[in-house]
């Protein structure tokens, strides 16, 4: 019986190497997107609305004030010079100052990163496991009443605007029950417990929408997986259906999930902006809104780029996770096909 011993061809590459190449590729993509995005932001804000100095100074300002402003902001220079000047300042950390309030934009943005980060990361950490669990449950029961109930609930969850949901939560948990604060944020360094309490309602508000959305994707991805042969094979080994789904299905179901992550990240960040304003959390979203309402073009410009970078980094994480989950993606880089 003993024929020649076979070996796999080509020899499997260590995970590190193909991962590294994949990471490089993703980073390059991020760089290109960031540059393109900055161009779009710049064009949108500096050209679409007409004279920027006018916008910032407002309708009540005298022509002299407007001219002075134009000078100090360098708005008389050619457009491309302004663009590179802006980017240069961005990289070195010089973002300029706010016209109306006079604060240094750079340091203000730096101060506001923590609340936004805490909110978004907290939401992801909470939502993803819950969405996986609910989606898998719904998939396993998709022909039974329980599965339909879960699906219907998710439907309702998608239709709830985050701001409405947030206010309802405030009504219930803050005003009626008095358990949690309605507005305000506590920095982690000042009071860890207060920090989490101040984030409880905002994260819940955001998570419900994210879970509703994600769990529907998980459900359909899972239902597809359940029809796959390797699930059958796992059962032929002696696993229960649920065991096969969890051990084999979840990982594979997560893959198409990651492919819709770009949209989910965008939804998450927009939701965060809204939720920050409802709960008056001093994060990037709140700064964004006040600047927009105050027509502070310079502030909005840099702030938008920061938020864009944030979105791109989150997408990078998603890509990395995709690479970890699906070895075939990495493999393609190395063997070339």
């Amino acid at each position: 019986m003993g024929a020649v011993a076979f070996g796999p061809t080509p020899p499997p590459s260590p995970i590190g190497e193909s991962m590294f190449r994949y990471l490089l590729k993703s980073l390059a993509l991020l760089g290109v997107s960031a540059v393109l995005g900055s161009l779009v932001i710049f064009m949108l804000l500096r050209t679409v609305g007409g004279d920027v100095a006018n916008i910032i100074a407002g309708t009540k300002a005298s022509p002299e004030t407007v001219n002075a402003l134009r000078e100090s902001l360098g708005l008389n220079r050619p457009l491309w010079e302004q663009y590179f000047g802006w980017l240069g300042g961005f990289i070195t950390g010089d973002f300029g100052t706010s016209y109306a309030a006079g604060y240094a934009i750079g340091s203000e943005i730096a101060r506001r990163v923590e609340p936004t980060l805490a909110l978004t990361m907290g939401t992801l950490v909470v939502s993803i496991p819950i969405a996986l669990a609910i989606g898998t449950y719904a998939a396993l029961n998709h022909r039974r009443v329980r599965g339909l109930v879960v699906d219907a609930t998710a439907q309702v969850g998608i239709g709830l605007p985050p701001f409405f949901l947030a206010l309802v939560l405030v009504l219930l948990f803050s005003l009626q029950l008095g358990w949690l604060p309605a507005t305000g944020y506590v920095y982690f360094a000042d009071d860890p417990i207060g920090h989490f309490r101040s984030l409880a309602l905002p994260i819940t508000a955001l998570s419900i929408g994210v879970v509703a959305n994600l769990s529907r994707f998980v459900r359909s991805a899972m239902i597809e997986q359940l029809g796959e042969d390797y699930i059958r094979m796992a059962r032929a080994k002696g696993r229960t259906l649920r065991g096969a789904a969890v051990v084999h299905g979840v990982r594979n179901a997560a893959i198409p999930l990651v492919s819709v992550s770009a949209v989910q990240v965008a939804t998450l960040v927009t939701g965060a902006v809204i939720v920050e304003n409802v709960f008056v959390l001093p994060g990037l979203g709140r700064l964004l809104l006040t600047s927009v309402l105050g027509r502070e073009v310079i502030v909005v410009q840099s702030l938008m780029l920061v938020i864009l970078l944030f979105i791109l980094v989150l997408n990078l994480f998603a890509d990395v996770i995709y690479g970890i989950l699906d070895p075939r993606i990495r493999g393609r880089e190395v063997s070339g096909g």
Partner: protein, 259 residues
Amino acid sequence: MLELRNLRIKSGHKVLSDIPTLTVAPGERLGIVGESGSGKTLTVMSIISLLPEGISATGEVLFHGDNLLGMTERRLQDIRGKRVGVVFQDPSRALNPTMKIGRQLAEVLRLHGESTSRDDIRNKMLKLLKQVSLDAPAVINSYPHELSGGQQQRVVIAIAMACGPDLLIADEPTTALDVTVQKSILELLLCLCSENNMGLIFVSHNLGVVQSICDRIAVMYQGALVEVGPAKVILGSPQEQYTRDLIAASPSIPQAKEG
């Protein structure tokens, strides 16, 4: 060892397959031949109750005297993988693409408590992979897509055999493979079954393939058992017209049966 009695497989009210009687003796190799839609896969899957949703089976599947058809899922899980092993048609789909081979092989060992320590399991895996002629340490760390079709199928066979089952069910195991590879897989199956006194049920639409390794052949057509008998008899003096047509339609594969 295995006896199917009045096995009727239905989807709702529609009868998909009906087998009055079919047996497999210990160590015997039975081939089930038929075209697509003949119900052969469903029949064989119903032995371990792995039927798709909406399809049910009635009758008796007696395995060492116990009726598998009425059993609780718990007891079935004990039997699946341990007393009965399954080799699926397309190994690239039967193996989880995102999991290393080693993990998938170890899974069946752990499920049935065959070994508990990591070293123990690793040794067992090395032995199993050697039995199917694979370079063990390299394969254990690979992902399915890094192996060729033939190698993948050898892994599947190794998994199916891992716990020393009495019966191996092979559902079109060579159909998805290149012709050149098919022969070696067939030889491997023949070898393993005779060395371990393992029963084999080999399902295929290809009479030539079945004839090369099976002692007895059952012919199915549209859910019914057309003819059963020793391979030599079926091929030499077929009783039914359908069997005759089937023989005429297959390209002959001259394969002397190994004792």
